[in-house]
Amino acid sequence: MRIFLVLVVMIAGLASTAFAVEPDEMLDDPVLEARARVISKDLRCVVCQNQDIDSSNAGVARDLRLLVRERLVAGDDNTEVVAFIQARYGDFVLLKPPFKPETYVLWIAPFVLAGTALIFGLLILSRSRRKSGKTLSTEEEAQVDLFLAEHRKRTAE
């Protein structure tokens, strides 16, 4: 029984670490709150990088969560809220980088690399096929026959 209780407490502890959003931050309007959660899952925490602000316990992340909710209450739509934060912290806060000239390499490079690999692969394949399709000249045939005959003679001995 005691072990069971300990387990319950430990598992409860595990679950609680997954929620950084504290009750006092949440909005009363469930629709707005749901939108806030969606937005904050796409915003990167600037302290503990590579974590979204929705799951980060950092002070700045909390401030940003509150700011997101404040903007939503003020009537901003989702893109306006993101733009508001992006204006202050730059593209860096977006967990999904935008598609623009600075990030063309990032977005397009995988396709270019895959395409190049494909082209070279096909080129090399077709070339080896062409090589194997070549036939021997009559002189070469005669030479081969000579070698084979000699080999047969030797193995027969």
């Binding site: 600037v46 700045v60 940003l64 202050r88 730059g90 070279f120 090399i124």
Partner: protein
């Protein structure tokens, strides 16, 4: 054509190698976040004075029309590196005549006043940012952070973390010279 193909692995090695070289550069900080503020006008904010201190608060308007660049330092009494940085900033003010404004970030006025009483106050103006909202406007990720703002209110430079140690001080001094807050060879 086959000769060209033979060069491809070399080309790939050079490109990948250059990338590794860039990644292994000890002077590169992978955690650095590019600031959107550089070369932009300072953000809009209005901070009241810290209670118990005899220096005024400041707003964006106080950052324009100055006769030279101003250094804006974000600090807090609870921030340990700020304590180490304090003497460096004081040195810049007393020795080089740098103008220093402070944003007191998420700090209780009484704590800030006691902290400055103990260490001395190099700040010409200090605004109290108790909510941290001005911090967000400046795009800070923590304290301390230090900005250099030009006479026209344009943000010229941002330093993340404490200006402590030879390397940091050298970097920051270089930025001050570039901003023409310092003359070459001074300090």
């Amino acid at each position: 054509m086959s000769r060209m193909i033979a060069l491809v692995p070399l080309l790939i090695a050079v490109v990948v190698g250059a990338f590794f070289l860039w990644g292994l550069d000890p002077d590169r900080n992978p955690n650095a976040i590019p600031s959107v503020l550089i070369s932009q006008p300072a953000p809009d904010f209005d901070l009241v004075q810290v209670e118990g201190l005899d220096v005024p608060g400041f707003s964006r308007a106080d950052l324009t029309g100055n006769d030279g660049p101003v250094v804006v330092n974000v600090f807090a009494s609870w921030c340990v590196p700020c304590r180490a940085e304090h003497s460096v900033l004081t040195g810049f003010v007393e020795r080089d005549g740098i103008r220093l404004f402070g944003i007191n970030y998420k700090d209780k006025p009484a704590d800030a006043a006691a902290w400055l009483k103990e260490l001395g106050n190099p700040y010409e103006r200090i605004g109290s940012d108790f909510s941290g909202r001005a911090g967000i406007e400046w795009g800070i990720s923590g304290v301390p952070e230090t900005f250099i703002v030009g006479p026209d209110g344009t943000v010229l430079y941002r330093y993340v973390g404490p200006v402590v140690g030879d390397k940091a001080i050298k970097t920051f001094t270089k930025a001050l010279v570039q901003a023409q807050a310092l003359k070459e060879g001074q300090s």
